[in-house]
């Protein structure tokens, strides 16, 4: 393998490599001669381009075969992608600051979905056919409760599991994260059993609009209505507050940030709290859209992680973009009729994308080349 050998692996990562980048603060691409990148073999690039071309042709043919169906599936993809985006941001935030794949994040998400179910239907006791006010109030109230709760749980996970290992070899916290994931999953199993929880009848499935045979339902629009403000709030927090600034500084260089008087431990805790509360939002939305049970988080977490890597890990807009792309791919794969592999293969396709991205373009669509990359 050309380029794989002998390249120095900096223990301390070079500045700006895995940082939390936002659209405004995106650092200019590294141009210093020491970080000049080896040329990718043209065969690999050609292969990748051919693959993308085949997918595009496949999409176009499918579009011509049934435009309205295609657009409807596109909207499904958009909705799912928005939920994935919320989870993906959790991965990307934590990776940006600790270079840790927080394996437990997916399970935090699933657990939050089940807790949201309890809060909605057992605490607030929302019955069948609720009025609009009840729906909105219920969702907002539940979000306030679960977001606070899972911010706390995520902070606890970091405090118990990862903080002690901050100076340890990098694989140590990763292994702990895998263990944590199983612990949280089994807490969900112990409390909620193996049944699926679904709140799919909470929001009515009536059409918002229906033009040219393309219809969009309220329960899908609701996802966007919640996700978009959440994303704006997050962006505002990261770019416009002191704490957000501290987060960006810590993710660039933890030690320098500490020297500048930033409380690194608190900043990391706040990052985990943010990730946890976004996971709680996603958990509620997913539970209302589909259903959750104790092991939902494993697969969905991996999908979201793939999304984060696809967009460029550590990059917030990248995570959302990657999530939308994954959402579209999944929806097209499961919904289109002409030569679609179908839902049996969704997992393989998502992982295939993950592997291809990591092998061919480890910096992702928008991100920068990480020290991991080939």
């Amino acid at each position: 393998m050309p380029g794989g050998q002998g390249r120095p692996a900096p223990r301390q990562r070079p500045p700006g490599s895995g940082t939390i980048a936002t659209a405004e603060t995106q650092a200019p691409p590294p141009t210093s001669p020491q970080r000049r990148l080896p040329k990718r073999p043209p065969v690999a690039s050609l292969l990748g381009l051919t693959l993308v071309g085949v997918v595009v042709i496949w999409l176009v043919i499918n579009f011509t075969k049934g435009p309205s169906n295609f657009v409807e599936i596109f909207l499904i993809g958009l909705t799912n992608g928005a939920v994935y985006g919320l989870v993906a941001i959790g991965y990307t935030l934590v990776y940006g600051i600790l270079q840790l794949i927080n394996f437990a994040h997916g399970d935090v998400f699933a657990l939050s979905g089940m807790v949201a179910f309890t809060v909605l239907f057992s605490v607030f006791k929302i019955g069948p056919n609720p009025s609009t006010l009840v729906i909105v109030g219920g969702i907002v109230g539940t979000l306030l409760i679960t977001m606070t709760m899972f911010a706390g749980i995520n902070v606890l996970v970091e405090l118990v599991g990862y903080r002690r290992l901050r100076g340890a070899p990098r694989l140590a916290p990763l292994i702990t994260a895998v263990g944590m994931s199983f612990i949280i999953q089994n807490i969900g199993l112990a409390v909620y059993g193996v049944e699926f929880r679904s709140g799919s009848d909470l929001v009515p499935h009536t059409n918002v609009f229906s033009v040219f045979g393309v219809s969009y339902q309220w329960h899908k629009l609701m996802v966007l209505l919640v996700t978009i403000p959440a994303l704006f709030a997050l962006t505002w927090f990261v770019t416009h507050t002191r704490q957000g600034k501290a987060m960006r500084a810590t993710s660039q260089d933890m030690e320098a940030a500490a020297v500048m008087g930033i409380n690194v431990n608190r900043t990391i805790s706040i990052t985990f709290a943010l990730a946890g509360s976004l996971a709680a939002v996603a958990g509620l939305l997913y539970m209302v859209q589909f259903n959750v049970r104790y092991d939902t988080g494993f697969e969905l977490g991996l999908i979201a992680f793939t999304a984060a890597v696809l967009g460029g890990i550590g990059n917030l807009p990248g995570a959302v973009l990657g999530a939308l792309v994954i959402g579209f791919i999944q929806a097209f794969n499961e919904g289109l009729t002409w030569h679609a592999p179908g839902s049996d293969w969704t997992r393989s396709i998502v992982f295939g994308i993950l592997i291809a991205i990591l092998v061919f373009r480890p910096e992702g669509l928008l991100g920068e080349r990480t020290p991991e990359g080939g």
């Binding site: 794989g4 990763l174 263990g179 089994n186 112990a190 933890m254 500490a258 049996d344 480890p362």
Partner: protein, 415 residues
């Protein structure tokens, strides 16, 4: 090796001060040749284990604790998983490559056995060296003794194919990519019942039955294990032999040039590359050899339980094996053997025995086996936090982890 040996291993007169404190028995022990001292513990352990089927019935007869001893059939499963853990230890413990998709190799091995020793491919009829199978039976039937190495080689090739593009990635990315393959291969197996009309894997039903090993009456050895009266014991002895071979290879590999290169890469990849170790080739070998043992173990297990089912190959198994390695001690053969046996026991019989004992004695209705993966997760977290080198630490690995103190950040990491 926890055998009392001294550095240098030369005569006892070198350390008279130490000798004076040791009792007469220990002094006698010290005078024995070094080879005897080093091999004593392994030989005793091997003998005691090998004789397990002979005394298991009397152990099970003991009041109140007898139920905790596993049956011979369960021990076979424990041994198979321990074998996989020893194989995984080559990847994770020696070379320091976190592999979260080891179950893929288990699956590859099991399905090789299923293809080469069952009625899966009814359109062909091919028999070679098989025993206890009707010669008119359709499908490919090779002798299991041939299938085991073939499964190993097939899995080794799979390992190389997976490894070549991905081993360039470091650390956590590699873990995720291996996890990806660990998910893709079982899904392929699950969906592989109609590849352009060709039934490769028989879908979710899996392939069953699979032939059992046998000797065709050669040298008075049993014709076919499954048709023998003491089939469990025969499988047990075979599993033990396979495990011993695995451990022996793993032990010799560790001290070989390749093994030292693995450990060098684990400790510091950059320094290893600077010393002229070809990173890609060395890592690929670690991956391939680890895969080989996983494949052999998978093939043997498939033959033992006479089936390969896609439901057996899921992510949790990979983590279960990883947990064995971490509990025992990454890189330490004794550690992995103990970790594998302990967790294997808990998985196969232990947790359900404990659960039933608990409910019968206290009336608490708690099933620990339902939460077994939560328990493994807890073990992983506790081990990583408080004893990252495992129960039996490998000396070098311990040094490596303690050395990590130098990496501590400038700021105070108070919690």
């Amino acid at each position: 090796m926890k055998v009392p040996t001294r550095l240098g291993g030369s005569g006892p007169d070198k350390h008279p001060g130490v000798d004076a404190q040791r009792g007469p028995v220990q002094q006698q022990w010290d005078r024995l040749p070094r080879l005897v001292r080093e091999l004593a513990l392994p030989v005793v352990v091997i003998l005691v284990t090998f004789l397990y089927p002979q005394y298991v019935d009397s152990l099970k007869g003991i009041q109140s604790v007898g139920d905790f001893f596993p049956s011979v059939g369960s021990v076979v499963i424990m041994i198979v998983f321990t074998m996989m853990a020893v194989g995984l230890n080559i990847v994770v413990g020696y070379a320091g490559l976190l592999d979260l998709g080891y179950v893929a190799f288990y699956a590859a091995g099991a399905y090789t056995a299923a293809w080469l020793a069952s009625q899966q491919f009814e359109q062909w009829s091919f028999h070679f060296g098989d025993s206890g199978v009707l010669p008119t039976l359709s499908g490919i039937h090779l002798s299991i003794w041939m299938v085991l190495p073939l499964a190993g080689i097939f899995t080794l090739v799979v390992g190389i194919l997976i490894g070549l593009p991905t081993l360039r990635l470091r650390g956590d990315y590699l873990a995720i990519v291996t996890l990806g393959f660990g998910e893709i291969i079982p899904q392929f197996v699950r969906n592989g019942d109609n590849i352009h009309g060709f039934d490769l894997t028989h879908g979710t039903f899996g392939i069953s039955p699979i032939d059992a090993p046998g000797f065709n009456g050669l040298l008075g050895l049993p014709v076919n294990y499954r048709q023998s009266l003491n089939s469990q014991e025969l499988f047990f002895y075979t599993a033990m032999v396979l495990l011993l071979i695995t451990v022996f290879c793993s032990w010799r590999l560790r001290d070989s040039r390749l093994g030292r290169a693995w450990i060098a890469i684990r400790e510091d990849e950059t320094a290893a590359a600077a010393m002229g170790i070809p990173l890609m080739r060395t890592k690929t070998w670690a991956y391939a050899i680890g895969a080989f043992f996983g494949g052999v173990a998978g093939a043997f297990y498939a033959s033992f339980k006479s089936g390969a089912f896609p439901a057996d190959f899921y992510f949790n198994i990979s983590v279960f094996l990883l947990c064995m390695v971490i509990l025992g001690g990454m890189g330490s053969i004794w550690g992995v053997l103990i970790g594998g046996m302990v967790l294997g026991y808990l998985n196969v019989e232990g947790l359900s025995t404990i659960g039933s004992k608990l409910s019968s004695s206290t009336g608490i209705n708690f099933e620990p086996s339902k939460y077994q993966f939560g328990i493994y997760g807890l073990i992983i977290v506790i081990m990583m936090l408080f004893r990252p080198t495992g129960l039996i630490s490998e000396r070098r690995h311990k040094l490596e982890l303690e050395e990590g103190v130098h990496d501590e950040a400038l700021y105070e990491s108070r919690s």
